[in-house]
Amino acid sequence: MPKVKFEILESTCVPLPLENVDTDQIIPARFLSATSREGFGDNLFRDWRYLKSGEKNSDFVLNNARFSGKVLVTGKNFGSGSSREHAVWAIYDYGFRAVVSSFFADIFKNNSLNNGLLPIVIPEGLLNKLHNLIQGDPSVKVRINLEEQLFTILPTEDSVRFEINAYKKECLLKGLDDIDFLLSMKDQINDYETNKIMVK
């Protein structure tokens, strides 16, 4: 099943300068009982976004009209904890197409790449600089060029290369699907089962 291709992205950013943001914060467990992938964006960061009374928490960045954009800029160790892919679905459904941090948790990174959400690792110094820039001027834009693997802060022209493995890069650029790829390897999988399998 073909997927959406990842094009060059130029956007303003939404800053969330907190460390160790776990997937329970991104989407609390009580919203996981859905059986489809859609609609999780409404509950993205639910318990930070809303007060106990149910009203919007005006202190939280998603409720701050100053900030908008397709790029979420976070702190170190983003996406730790539970393997719930619902966290990525929620971020994507809300409208983000890339998350920038100095460090991502492993499962979150895989889940992001599997859903067309680009996790971009930049050095901590540059991340801090970006946070300061956005706080000072929310119209600051960044450019993400996946083909060139380049992340650029437009007004300052700070540019840094980010890592992504060649396979995933091609999948994202061409909108290719992992399962189609694996299904095309049917004979090799059969061959493995016949000859190599350790545990039947």
Binding site: M1, P17, L18, E19, N20, D22, D24, Q25, P28, A29, R30, L32, S33, A34, T35, S36, R37, D47, K52, G75, K76, N77, S80, G81, S82, S83, R84, E85, H86, V88, F103, A105, D106, I107, N110, N111, N114, N115, N165, A166, Y167, K168, D178, I179, F181, L182, L183, M185, K186, Q188, I189, Y192, E193, K196, I197, M198, V199, K200
Partner: protein
């Protein structure tokens, strides 16, 4: 021949194909599924018009969102009921073995897999749950995956996965009184932080590990993910083989001795190279407790909360936000702090040994009136054993009610929520904000420390309540 780690031996033995500058295509021997992270994967198969490739290698249970009371009745919450019904339906359509609600072997996926013999040394095991690392206690490569990957494995019995780096953690020496395997793993996480293991797969070794029972080893491997590691494993040994030998059945294994001769080969070679090696002294470990909102924010139960997360520097905003959520201040001690709830259970500490340890401390004492306790066995078989060993009556005599199995208050998807602002000493694995219910304040600890809190109504050093 090049010396190899146990991790390399199992991983390399399961590679169907390596993609240049990309992930490996890894064959999966056992796939566990549950109601919360599988429905979208089955929807995907339907859209593609394909079946599960090897249904015999997938095992299903309902555990995450089920009630722990009146399980014989219809599930009250509509979306939870719908999810459990969907799982049952999907298992029927695809011919997957399903240990559903009210099945005599139902329970938490990471409790029933090992106790029913589905987890076997040398396997690759995945599940749409980060605590899949639990199964590494048997010398397996076991890790949590997302739902897209669940679909991948259902469709092809393979997963695309970059090979992690390898870390060895050695814990040597003898454990002190009142110190359990939960304290060992909490200590390690506090030493290396919640991101210290990211990018790695860990092998645990050393005399403090090899002296542990299988249940205790599972607790260690279970929390590997809380230091960011994808998984953790322990080389199988006589304790592992004894555990397996005593099981009523090991599915797929007809000749135990033949299997055993293969399992005995599963260890890291002398001189095998790890990307990182750490060593800790078991004698330094005390009963642990967390004070913050991630598992790395912990300390000895009798210690004081540090003044800052970065030694010698000002406390970070994240650190202060976390203490503020917990209602604590830097520098204070937690001993004597009132506790409202106690939870024993989960895939971390929901096995028979955990309930024995808890019973040992509450026997002859009474539950504190101010404490609400959630006592939740990890599986029907654990519940049955508790009855058989007379533990249920010890719990009841002390004023505790034992519930029915499930994940329960660990992630509070069901009704077992801790109310806003209340303090819960929990034997589970995560103290994230709102993990046990919106506004709940979780303090992670061992079953012994939880029991000490349950009978005193406050944070208490369990060693004070133990004889000798």
């Amino acid at each position: 021949m090049e010396a190899k780690t146990l991790f390399d031996k199992i991983w390399d033995g399961h590679v169907v194909r390596s993609i240049e500058d990309g992930p490996d295509v890894l064959y999966i021997d056992r796939h566990y599924i549950h109601e919360v992270t599988s429905p979208q994967a089955f929807n995907g198969l339907k859209q593609r018009g394909i079946q599960v490739l090897r249904p015999g290698k997938t095992i299903a249970t309902a555990d995450h969102n089920i009630p722990t009371k009146d399980q014989h009745l219809t599930i009250q919450d509509e979306s939870s009921r719908n999810q459990v019904e969907k799982l049952s339906e999907n298992c029927k359509i695809h011919g997957i073995e399903y240990f559903g609600l009210n099945h005599s072997k139902n329970g938490i996926v990471h409790v029933i897999g090992p106790e029913l013999g589905y987890t076997q040394p040398g396997m690759t095991i995945v599940c749409g749950d980060s605590h899949t690392s639990t199964h590494g206690a048997f010398g397996t490569i076991a890790f949590g995956i997302g739902t897209s990957e669940v679909e991948m494995v259902l469709a092809t019995q393979c997963i695309l996965q970059p090979k992690p780096k390898k870390m060895k953690i050695t814990i040597s020496g003898k454990l002190n009184k009142g110190v359990t395997s939960k304290d060992i793993i909490m200590y390690i996480i506090c030493e290396i932080s919640t991101a210290g293991g990211t990018g790695y797969f860990v092998e645990y070794a050393g005399s403090a590990i090899t002296s542990l029972s299988m249940e205790a080893r599972m607790t260690i491997c279970n929390m590997s993910i809380e230091m960011g590691a994808r998984g953790g494993l322990i080389a199988p040994d006589e304790i592992t083989f004894d555990y397996l030998r005593k099981l009523p059945a090991i599915p797929g294994v007809k000749d135990f001795d033949k299997a055993l001769s293969e399992w005995k080969k599963l260890k890291s070679d002398d001189g095998a190279v790890f990307d990182k090696e750490l060593a800790f002294d078991a004698a330094k470990i005390k009963p642990m407790i967390t004070y913050g909102t991630n598992p790395g924010m912990g300390m000895a139960v009798d210690a004081a909360i540090p003044l800052s997360d970065i030694a010698g520097a000002d406390a970070s905003a994240s650190f202060l936000k976390s203490l503020n959520y917990m209602g604590f201040k830097p520098g204070i001690k937690l001993l004597g702090h009132p506790v409202d709830y106690v939870f024993i259970g989960s895939c971390t500490n929901g096995r028979i040994e955990d309930f024995r340890a808890f019973a040992q401390l509450i026997k002859g004492r009474k539950k504190a009136d101010s404490v609400t306790a959630l006592i939740v066995p990890g599986s029907k078989l654990v519940e049955e054993l508790m009855k058989k060993e007379g533990l249920i009556s010890i719990y009841e005599d002390a004023g505790f009610e034992v519930r029915q199995p499930g994940c329960s208050s660990c992630l509070a998807m069901n009704e077992d929520k801790i109310p806003v602002g209340k303090y819960a000493v929990s034997t589970s694995n995560r103290n994230f904000e709102g993990r046990q219910g919106p506004g709940a304040r979780t303090l992670l600890a061992s079953p012994l420390t939880a029991a000490a809190a349950a009978v005193t109504g406050k944070i208490t050093d369990p060693r004070k309540l133990m004889n000798n």
